[in-house]
Symmetry: C2
Subunit: 328 residues, 2 copies
């Protein structure tokens, strides 16, 4: 299997991308095509023992920076690592594409070069969200600020296929994010989507509220890209706030500081349970190819695991399953 | 000053409501009119030393339960504590109304009996949201799942007045919740609201993202009732999840358990910093009267502080200020 990695994507590229690629090639036996500036990538590759590993390098002279306007950059930077990598996928020279770069840029490029899956109205960005029981798949988290009910129905279909085929969750429970449990609750969009989801044949468990996401009530949580984006960014901010408060208050007195030191392994275990790097990345669903987007702050482990996600998506026949689901 | 308290409202009424009323009457020197079932309220009052306090009792035979359908209950239960209390406010026999009961029921009753402030399109439920620096006012958190740009503009006006006159924040910074900082980001609703807010004369700081709420970047965060509701319920759920994780992981090993015991005072300080009971309640803004809604799980201290909020809103001339702001 051949997986394209945007070697220039992410806050710590190309160091961590190359390192993650080396780890993935060794651990999963996949070929990882590194796309990026030849000299920079080669310099990183030289730091690792790559004997016996398949890590071909494909040169791309440009980089879409994290802060760039996605659509504009996708249009003008025709030799970006994202564009060149996506083209490899399109031409069938690779099975999947992974990037920790500008997610809007990846989406715009994927739409432009791969196009949408037939019948899919809008692609959706997804996120792996930590719950008390494990993780759930949340989508859309930013691709579509304004949605129609049918979009949400399609997000549910695609999310359900991904949860089953890639995350290995049998018969995933699909919840619709709303401001109340009752089916009469919600915006007009959500009320109409609820009706469509009830008749969808999916394992639809009804509306879920904000408080139900972290409890793991649903395996797939469907929402519009505006609300989904607020959810992931608020969670990040709130987690950061609680962490700061704990550090500040534990350090405030000598006795609690000692307690904090003793309790440190527990905090380590909590961090690992909430650690996004375990999953590495989440799919851009609805485009005609396997595209995994990793966090911009990805470390090497996250990159490695994002490549594993891509591998699983290919092996699980995710794309075919989505297409077949739509045909039904 | 006379404040009406829905003695039957909340999960622990009438015990904590009466206790909170006694505390408020003593501490703030206000008259608290207790509305509810005479025998039940009298039984609670008998448990306290009320000598010298002004705590008149007004009988209401019915109660709108927490789980009841708000609009239906507001319509049919004409002798509910909420209806009778609101009527006292309407007739000018009281200056403000406080309830920890069914918030939808309070809103429906307020709309029906007090009506909206002239020119206000929709009332908004607000919430006091903890930040690393203190608290901010978030609205709407559930009254209007579907909004128009002008509603958000009015929410911003009302929230700004409340923050200034009642919470004592000079020139409050108003942020618009969006899925990106740039003014081109957001749903169509948010983009249009952004344009209105820029010209509003308010201290509008632009879009804020989910991660910016807990940092206290804005004093007033404006959003539609769907998103706002997801924000407060997600925060509740996430806080609960992190608390469970900490308890579980600290207990998992003897050494971390000892650390946890030593660090306990730090966790107590954190809880107090995030404690909603300090604020007690948040206003229902846009109806023609001072209405404070407290959390259903309120304890006596929260009720007392909700009464203090009501007192401040009356003293600060909140209603007049909102009306004058609209006239400009």
């Amino acid at each position: 299997m051949r997986i394209v990695l945007d070697a220039m994507g992410g806050d710590h590229a190309p160091q961590v991308t190359v390192q993650g690629a080396v780890m993935a090639a060794r651990e999963y036996g996949v070929e990882v095509m590194l796309v990026g500036r030849r000299d920079e990538v080669e310099a990183e590759l030289a730091k690792h023992d790559t004997a016996g590993l398949s890590l071909p390098l494909v040169h791309a002279s440009q980089v879409i920076e994290m802060g760039e306007h996605p659509a504009a950059a996708a249009k003008t930077k025709k030799d970006s690592s994202i564009a060149v990598g996506m083209e490899l996928l399109k031409r069938g020279e690779a099975d999947a594409f992974v990037s920790a770069g500008n997610s809007g840029g990846v989406m715009a490029t994927a739409l432009f070069r791969l196009g949408r899956i037939r019948h899919i109205r809008r692609p959706a960005l997804s996120a792996i969200y930590p719950t008390i029981k494990g993780f759930c798949l949340l989508l859309d988290v930013g691709a579509n600020a304004d949605c129609k009910p049918e979009y949400l129905l399609q997000f549910a279909h695609m999310g359900s296929v991904y949860a089953e085929k890639v995350l290995g969750i049998p018969n995933p429970r699909v919840g619709l994010l709303s401001n109340g449990e009752e089916e009469t609750k919600g915006s007009i969009l959500v009320q109409e989507a609820h009706r469509l989801l009830k008749e969808s044949g999916l394992n639809f468990i009804g509306n879920v509220e904000g408080k139900d996401i972290p409890t793991g009530m649903a395996d797939v949580v469907v929402t519009d890209g505006f609300t989904g984006n607020v959810v992931i960014k608020l969670s990040e901010g709130l987690g950061g706030m609680i962490k700061s408060l704990i550090e500040e208050e534990i350090k405030a007195h000598p006795l609690t500081a000692i307690g904090g030191l003793l309790a440190k392994p527990a905090f380590g275990r909590i961090s690992r349970r909430l650690d996004y790097t375990e999953y590495g990345g989440a799919p851009l669903l609805g485009v005609d190819g396997v595209v995994i987007i990793a966090h911009g702050r990805s470390n090497a482990k996250a990159i490695k695991n994002a490549i594993r996600m891509a591998k699983r998506a290919v092996e699980g026949g995710m794309l075919t399953a989505i297409k077949e689901g739509l045909a039904d």
